[in-house]
Structure formats: C-alpha cells, structure tokens
C-alpha cells in the first residue's frame, strides 16, 4: 500500500497539460513512499491517451473506456473502483474545474482525507502538503493523518513529465451506473467579440483596485494615450464593467504580450495562469505584499489614482 495513483484529465480529444504535471508530482510521491506510480485515464480515446501518458517514471496505466467526455458520475465510480483494486497510499488528482467536480466525491466515498490545491509535498513516513491561504498571502504546511490520502494539485507547479516510459497498459473494467442523474449535453465557447486580447503586444489590465465603474475612463485614457489593449481580472467582468472577452486568466483568456501592465490586480493564481507568459510584467499596487510582485519584472508600490494620471501625462 505504498503506491500512488494519479488520474489524468482530458477535454475534447486532448490530454490537458496538468495530466503530465500529475505524472511528475505522482513520481515524486512514489519515490518518497517507495511505491509504484499508477495512472488512470477515464473516457475518450483511452488508447491514444495511454500511449501519450506512457512517459518516464510511470509504472502502470489503467484505462477505463466508458463515455467520451468528462462526466463526474463515471469518474467518481471509476476512480473509486480502481482505488479499491490498487489500494494506493496516495491518490492524486488535478485541482481543475473538473477535478473539483469529482475529487471531493471520491474522497468522501473512500473516506480519505482530502487536501486540495497542493503546491508542494513533503513525505517522511507521512504526508505533508504545502498550500496557500488568504489569496496566496500566506503559505501553510499541513500534516495529513491516516494511512491513505487524496490530494489535488495546482496546475503549472510541477514540470510536465517527458521521455518515453515502459508502463504496463491495461484496460480496467468497471460496472458504471450511467443512470446517476447528471448528463452533459454540450459545450459552449464564450468570450468572442470585438477584440482578441491574446493577440495584443501591450496590455493594460485592471483589477478590483479601481473600485468603481466610474474610474474606468481614467484607465481608458491611459489605454488611448499609450496605444495599449485593455484587459482585466475577473471581478471587473463579474461586475459587468467589461465584457467577458477582456478577462485574463484560468477561466478567461491566456495572453502573451511583450508587456503586461497589471494595475490594481493582486495576482491570484487563477489570474496569473492567464498572463505569466508575458515577456515583461509590470505591477502597480498599493500592497507591497501582493503576490503579483512575485512574478513582476518592474513594480510601483503606490496608489493607481496617483500613478495613472502621471503616466498618462508622460504620453500626451
């Protein structure tokens, strides 16, 4: 019972990046526990997914060919059954939107302690998980009791596993009760519209620091003066101040401009997921401890209502 079981994720025919990160995280844990790394892939084209997941450090891959796309009833039952069969010490799943839709149910069913959104692990006979609290302002280490645990990992914290492995690949048969009461009926793309911020070279992005919609024209003046493209963090879109196609982040757009100027944005992980690929990141924020400064190349610790008018003046 020292093995590790990691559950891959895919959508619309492609494995998602976090699947390969899970392999690295899973291997790290398996090295510490002295066990094997098992990988599960459920639904879709499991055969080709299994080939792709067969990377260095993977000992076994179990495919469950039931359904095309993610369905939490299928995932919950498949992972529960596989866990019962393999009896691993640690179960690792992605802290993605779909991960959040089945991991808690699996943990509950198997009576496993669950720790979500891990950014690191430590294993010394027992599992310790590092995670953040209060919007990344503090980090904590959490000891997890019990002989078996379930953990979900934050995306982009572990490098993707590479190389070619020689895992045993086998179909795992589960009796799925497909009549469970939820049905996925389709997908919808959102956030089209007038501009494509993912094409922009220079983005001025605003966050909750602007406080009210009435302050938006100030930023629009800056955008005008500098020829930038306007984008924002999620709360601005939630408030209806800007359309959805301006939202940068995990549930918005991924942008890769030459310069990303983040004004009044704290740098929550879901925001950073959309902009960390910018060449140069500049932050204006009153809080010197705001996480955005951890990834910034340049920064101003100051009030945007003082800095932005001065900046506009520089370009007029």
């Amino acid at each position: 019972m020292s093995d590790v079981l990691a559950v891959a994720e895919h959508r619309r025919g492609d494995l998602r990046d976090v699947s390969f990160e899970l392999l690295t995280a899973g291997r790290q844990l398996a090295d510490a526990t002295g066990g094997d790394l098992h990988v599960a892939v459920v639904s879709g084209d499991t055969e080709s997914f299994a080939d792709d997941l067969n990377r260095e450090g993977v000992d076994a891959i179990h495919t469950v060919s039931e359904g095309e796309e993610f369905n939490h009833d299928v995932y919950t039952q498949a992972v529960e059954a596989l866990h019962a069969e393999l009896d691993p010490e640690i179960l690792v799943m992605p802290n993605s939107v779909n991960g959040l839709d089945y991991a808690p149910a699996v943990a509950n069913r198997l009576d496993l302690p669950l720790v979500t959104d891990a950014v690191d692990f430590d294993y010394d006979g027992g599992l310790t998980v590092t995670r953040e609290m209060y919007g990344s302002k503090v980090e904590t280490t959490v000891d997890v009791a019990g002989d078996q645990q379930a953990v979900t990992i934050r995306g982009a914290e572990w490098p993707a596993a590479e190389g070619v492995g020689d895992a045993d690949i086998a179909e795992f048969d589960v009796d799925i009760d497909a009549d469970a009461g939820s049905t996925v009926t389709g997908f919808e793309e959102v956030g089209g519209g007038d501009v494509d911020i993912s094409e922009a070279d220079f983005i001025v992005s605003i966050g909750r620091g602007i406080e009210e919609e009435d302050n938006l024209p100030l930023i629009e003046d800056l955008v005008e003066a500098t020829g930038a493209t306007l984008a924002s963090s999620r709360p601005i879109v939630d408030n209806g101040w800007l359309p959805k196609n301006r939202q940068v982040g995990q549930s918005g757009k991924v942008v890769t401009p030459d310069v990303y100027l983040a004004i009044g944005i704290s740098g929550a992980v879901q925001h950073v997921a959309g902009m960390k690929g910018a060449d140069t990141i500049i932050a204006v924020n009153t809080d010197p401890n705001a996480p955005i400064f951890d990834i910034a190349d340049y920064g101003i610790v100051g009030d945007l209502f003082e800095v932005v008018p001065e900046l506009i003046e520089q370009f007029e």
């Binding site: 959040l100 904590t140 401009p257 030459d258 401890n289 400064f293 520089q314």
Partner: protein
C-alpha cells in the same frame, strides 16, 4: 421548493500583517461574507422572487461573531438562518472537508431542502471541495463551478453551465435534489437595502450545537493539522521604482518606451 445556501464568514488579511504561530495574528484579520457565497445567496433569492423557491434558508458554521455576516444574507432576502457552533469547534483548528460535510449533512437532514447552493470556494482556506463532498454524502446530484442556472420546475431539473478553463462552458442537466457550487459572475449580487437590513434584525438565526444535530465529537475530528504558516518566499527580482507618483510614472514610461510598446 426549498433552497438551502451555505454561507461562510471569511477572514481577509490586511496588507501588512504578522503571523503568530500557525495563524495570522487576529489583529490583522477582517471578516466578511465569502465572495462566492454572496452570489449563491443572490441566486437563491432570485429563485424565490421568480417563483420556484418558497423558502431560502442559510446555514453557516461559525462563532457568534459571524451573526453579523449572516445578517447580511438575511438582509438580502434569505428567510432565516441556522448557525452551527460548538465549544468543541473552537479548539478544532483547521476544519477539514469531512468535518464540514458532517456538520452540513446534519443540517440538510433536518431542513430537507430540494436544492443546496454553496460558493465554489471560501476565500480564506480555498478548499473548494465542501459542496461536492456534501452532495455525495447525501446521495444528491451535484455540479461544481456553476455560472448559469436555469431551473425547470416541470422536470425538476437544473440546466446549468459549468465554467471550465479557457473560456469553455459545459452544459449539464442535473436532477434535483442537488448541490450546486456557485461561481462569481453568475448574477449581480444586490446590496442590502436599509429596509432589508431592518427586517433582518427580526429574522431567526437558530444556533445549533453538535448535540442539537445529533453529532458527537468524533464528527469533527480533523485529519488535517497546520504545522507552519509563513509568508511565501518571494522569488521576485522585480525592480521596484522608488519616489513619488510622478517619478515612478516617469520610470515606468521609460520602460514602456524601451520595450517599444508605447511612444
């Protein structure tokens, strides 16, 4: 239909703060209604205003102080509130998902709602797991990260959108009874009106101990223990511009010109 909304009072940390042991020093914490729960409350109140829901009840796990926050939800239109607390919880440390599930399950069994709405996550500990865990424990259906909800009373089905990553939404039909975890942006949470705030004063907040819920101390034994808390080590090599606003803006302008993105 009866809707139960789980609400949490979350702590927010001031810009400058100190850590005392494995906690942020109480002096640097401010309390507020969890952002995601605000949207969940609004969604429930709208279900009532639009017809399908007869009653909206909120449940919170929190000390007496949290009543102030619960009153906000009542002022926005919830009918009454249940507050679960116990001296045993005072000393329990970090409540794990299972503990919250146990407590809320007991309340759901008492209240017997058709629909439970929770926030996607709590802004402080950010586990993001309680709603789905609760649903599974209850044998309810569920949907996580819901950003659109259309309830069909004839079919007793919730047509929802789940907001996936990268601007894609999944459309799912969920049979009731169900637990939905609500994402920000699903609606526009109202401000509490003065009238609402006045009315909230006379609405019931029923305190419940473990005993009242038929639970014993075993139900709140947490599997998690926080062993250290610290400010994350910044790997930042950011160059911070010093000076007044005009100086810092000047330096920033220079960088923008250097990078060739603005003239």
């Amino acid at each position: 239909m009866k809707v139960l909304v789980t609400v949490k009072e979350v702590a927010e940390v001031a810009d400058d703060f100190e850590i005392a042991g494995t906690e942020v020093d109480e002096r640097y914490l401010e309390y507020d209604l969890n952002e995601w729960d605000d949207y969940a409350v609004e969604e429930a109140v709208q279900l009532k205003e639009d017809g399908p829901a007869e009653e909206v009840v909120t449940v919170t796990v929190g000390p007496e102080r949290s009543e102030e926050t619960i009153r906000m939800a009542l002022a926005k239109g919830a009918d009454r509130a249940v507050r679960v607390w116990d001296d045993a919880l005072e000393d329990a440390g970090l409540l794990d998902v299972e503990t919250k599930t146990n407590l809320l399950e007991a309340v759901v069994e008492e209240e017997d709602p058709d629909l439970v709405l929770t926030g996607v996550q709590a802004g402080d500990d950010a586990f993001g797991a309680t709603g789905v865990s609760l649903a599974d424990e209850l044998g309810f259906q569920w949907g996580a990260v819901v950003n659109a909800l259309d309830y069909d009373a004839d079919e007793n089905v919730a047509h929802v959108h789940r907001e996936l990553e990268g601007g894609v939404e999944e459309l799912t039909d969920i049979d009731l009874p169900a637990v939905l975890t609500i994402q920000t942006g699903i609606n526009e949470p109202r401000y509490a009106s003065l009238r609402g705030i006045r009315q909230a004063q006379s609405k019931e907040i029923a305190p419940k101990s473990l005993d009242d819920l038929g639970l014993d101390a075993g139900a709140i034994e947490s599997d998690l223990e926080v062993t250290s808390m610290y400010e994350p080590e910044s790997e930042s090599d950011a160059e911070i511009f010093e000076g007044d606003a005009s100086e810092t803006a000047g330096e920033l302008a220079e960088v923008l010109r250097e990078k060739g993105v603005a003239e």
